[in-house]
């Protein structure tokens, strides 16, 4: 019966496997190409300078409405980007992203220690420039660039810091 079947359907299995393996080889090379392209793209993205970026100016508040040691929450530049406007002890106004650069927990301003504190993993950033003071955050907090126009505070861009 088997012999009859072989005569009726003379498939060369050796040949059949040979071709499918060659196809597999091509597919793997294609996958390798995709991974290499992805890696090169990621390297190019990592090499890009990430400094200041300006966005549309948004009015935040009257400059004199924020007392020393107080803070005001706002969203900039996108609705999901929560930020904090702070009046420091020396009277200067600064603003930072409120997302911790570790795992995105919201940070809170501690005026007595002049720092932004992340309660999730005990991280802390300087309220002066957003640099990392303690804890696991790998980067400084992105700083929101501010401008005072006729007594009003405007957010005009975002400045990303370097490594912690």
């Amino acid at each position: 019966m088997n012999e009859r079947l072989r005569q009726d359907f003379p498939i060369d299995w050796e040949e059949d496997h040979y071709v499918s393996r060659r196809e597999f080889f091509k597919f793997m090379t294609l996958a390798s190409g995709g991974l290499a392209a992805g890696s090169v793209g990621m390297a190019a993205w990592a090499a890009l300078p990430k400094g200041e970026r300006r966005f549309e100016a948004v009015r935040l508040a009257r400059a004199d409405s924020i007392a020393v040691g107080e803070s005001l929450s706002f969203r900039y530049p996108r609705p999901q980007d929560i930020c904090l406007l702070i009046r420091r002890d020396d009277g200067s106004l600064v603003a930072f992203s409120q997302r911790c650069t570790h795992l995105s927990c919201p940070v809170e301003f501690q005026s007595d220690k002049d720092r932004l504190y992340c309660p999730c993993h005990n991280g802390a950033f300087s309220a002066k420039d957003g640099s990392v003071l303690q804890g696991p955050p790998p980067h400084p907090l992105p700083q929101i660039m501010l401008e005072i126009r006729e007594g009003d505070v405007y957010a005009v861009g975002v400045r990303h810091g370097g490594e912690a």
């Binding site: 050796e14 040949e15 496997h17 040979y18 393996r21 060659r22 597999f24 080889f25 091509k26 793997m28 090379t29 996958a31 390798s32 190409g33 991974l35 290499a36 992805g38 890696s39 090169v40 990621m42 390297a43 993205w45 990592a46 090499a47 650069t101 790998p138 980067h139 490594e163």
Partner: protein, 79 residues
């Protein structure tokens, strides 16, 4: 007789094929592992210095894979 020699040669080539395929599979796995490691580093915010060497190694692996593929094609054409 001629057919048998042809079959034996094909069988030998098939063995070489499997060996090369396994080697290529390991290379692609290594490439995938590299890619995921660099991606994790990027998302985690650290280890940016890994990205360029990772890409260089990935391109070298691609070159080896292409070289092997061309070798296979040459082997086929030589039949």
């Amino acid at each position: 007789m001629k057919d048998r020699v042809h079959r034996e040669r094909r069988s030998q080539k098939s063995t070489v094929f499997v060996a090369l395929m396994l080697f290529q599979f390991v290379l692609v796995l290594l490439q995938l592992w590299l890619f995921v490691s660099v991606l994790e580093g990027q998302i985690g915010g650290g280890a940016k210095e890994m990205a360029i060497p990772g890409a260089a190694v990935s391109v070298v692996i691609l070159a080896v894979n292409i070289w092997m593929l061309l070798g296979i094609r040459r082997m086929d054409a030589g039949e």
